[in-house]
């Protein structure tokens, strides 16, 4: 299967500043999450994939198409739901989606039919003849989704799709994204700073920090591995303690103030951790026993790249 995104030493400079730097990696999943704190470069990456920004160095391929050489062909296969407000306020919702579908290449009649379908699909069927300027924020988000899927793209790019939505509207959006993912052959790229959104919808995650790849992981594999975590808060823990745990077969990450994260192999019991702590005179003040989550992956990536780049 063709990779959804392949990044090949991609560098993007805007206004004299390097925004994305040396991005490499391949993402094959059908639903890919782009994660990162504000300013990490998620939206810039999306804009570059869409051809809005030219790479200063390297390139990327989306669905096997080079963004430098086949940008137009690529845009014919993409549906894009931008983060910010993007609509024509004095058009009715239906008229707007039909218009966008026609620009994407659908003949007028088919565009009309698809616009109706898209509106019903996103749950705005009853308001499709109302002007977009009168829509609520949640309705505008759904209208943006409708225009992005009306022409039947092969790849749907969503930039912060749940931005500004109240909990029921957010849940509805997540549900729609899941349905689209499961009911069609469309691939998805979802950019968000909300871990939950990505965790609930994506199979693979690209985590960006300061314009660099902080982590690239397959959530499905992580979920399958289903590793157990211990989060410890200790007094007196040192390198000796983590070495002893590693000798048991654990993976350890040591943070400030005696905090530790320990990945436990299945065969090791928690009492072994207590035993080593007792032997070394270390106080365990708090222990959380939990499964692996995207939050752990994200925080780990942030800590690691933070350490590599001298912290935040």
């Amino acid at each position: 299967m063709t990779a959804t995104i392949e990044l090949d030493d991609l560098q993007v400079q805007l206004g004299g500043r390097t925004i994305l730097d040396g991005l490499r990696g391949a993402l094959n999943g059908r639903a890919i999450g782009l994660l990162g704190p504000n300013g990490a470069g998620k939206s810039t990456l999306i804009n570059t994939l869409l051809g809005f920004h030219q790479p200063a160095r390297g390139t990327a391929r989306v669905l096997g198409m080079d963004i430098r050489q086949e940008a137009r062909k690529l845009r014919g296969l993409v549906g894009y739901m931008p983060e910010s407000d993007a609509f024509i306020s004095d058009m009715t919702g239906l008229h707007f989606v039909r218009y966008m579908a026609e620009i994407s290449g659908l003949p007028s009649e088919q565009a009309m039919e698809r616009a109706h379908e898209a509106f019903f699909y996103v749950g705005l069927g009853e308001v499709r003849y109302r002007k977009l300027g009168t829509y609520s924020l949640g309705m505008k988000q759904l209208a943006k989704l409708a225009q992005a899927i009306a022409h039947g793209p092969k790849l749907l790019i969503m930039d912060e799709p749940t931005n500004g939505l109240d909990p029921p509207a957010r849940q509805r959006m997540i549900q729609l994204v899941r349905e689209i993912r499961d009911a069609s052959d469309m691939r998805l790229i979802i950019s968000s700073h909300l871990l939950r959104d990505v965790e609930e919808t994506c199979e693979e995650v690209l985590i960006l920090r300061n314009g660099r790849v902080a982590a690239l992981c397959n959530l499905e594999e992580e979920r399958r591995a289903n590793r157990k975590f211990l989060e410890l808060e200790t007094i007196g823990a040192n390198g000796q303690f983590s070495s002893a745990l590693q000798q048991l077969g654990c993976e350890c990450a040591v943070f400030n103030n005696g905090r530790m994260k320990v990945v436990m192999p299945d065969k090791i019991e928690i009492r072994e951790v207590y035993r080593i702590a007792e032997q070394q005179g270390i106080q365990i003040r708090k222990m959380n026993h939990r499964r692996d989550s995207l939050e752990d992956i994200f925080l780990n990536a942030m800590e690691q790249t933070g350490a590599a780049h001298g912290g935040l």
């Binding site: 809005f52 620009i103 994407s104 069609s184």
Partner: protein, 294 residues
Amino acid sequence: MAVYKRAYRSYSGPITDERWRFLVLTRYSLTQLFSSRAFSWFMMATVLPVLISAAYIYISNSVTAQLALRMGNQSLLVVDGAFFSKVLISQAWMALFLTCWAGPLLVAGDLSNGALPLYLSRPLNRAEYVAGKAAVLVGILSCVTWIPGLLLFGLQTSLAGASWGWQHISFLAAILLASFIWIAVLTLISLATSAWVKWRIVATAVTFGLFVLPPGFGEAINGVMRTSWGRVLNLPYLLEVVLSNMLGVPVQTHGPFSNEPIPMAAAWVVLIGVCFASLEMLNKRLRAREVVRG
């Protein structure tokens, strides 16, 4: 249309030809423009001077009509270069008013609502976007400039005889060239100011202001510098220079200062220069994403 499908399905139907897809923008923009009854009425009103001119041509060629109107001196009614110059200049002002009305609706709305990324994330580039929007103005302005000009020329030729047409065949080039450059100037200035201003009402005011305020400044320059070159800031005057020279009629004097007209070549250079400057402004502004420098 009954709609029952509520599950997502992909699309595998026909696709339109990419080369002409920019005309979708034109079609929708025209629909939007003519959905306003006031605009439709105004568009019709711009034809009135042409109808009056057609009546003038008919009367000047019809002895019966002149007798019926008790017009004694037939020689007062002459259809010549000066006549076509006056008609086209009046239509050029009509075109300006139409542009001020329609132009800002085309681009400012898209920019103020952030719709540009939606257009440009599709198989449509910036040039096609501009072409789609410009085609609206080109179409509308053609209806009030060169098309009526040619119709009037044809009417005069049919009434006065083919020999008149052959004798004045150069009028056709004047009508077409002057109209085309004026349409280009109006279209590009209007799109460029709309792209920069974004707010429709202000864009209308700025577009109109660019045609009526610089002439005053130009006359001030003429007064201070004792020259007539300040008139290069007067775009309607430059059109008049082009038109008058091509139709072989003297350029009317304007303003209280120097009466020496601007050379036609200079008028062409300025008008074409304005077009290129507007294109550059559009190129700078019409981007899917703005980049803040620094």
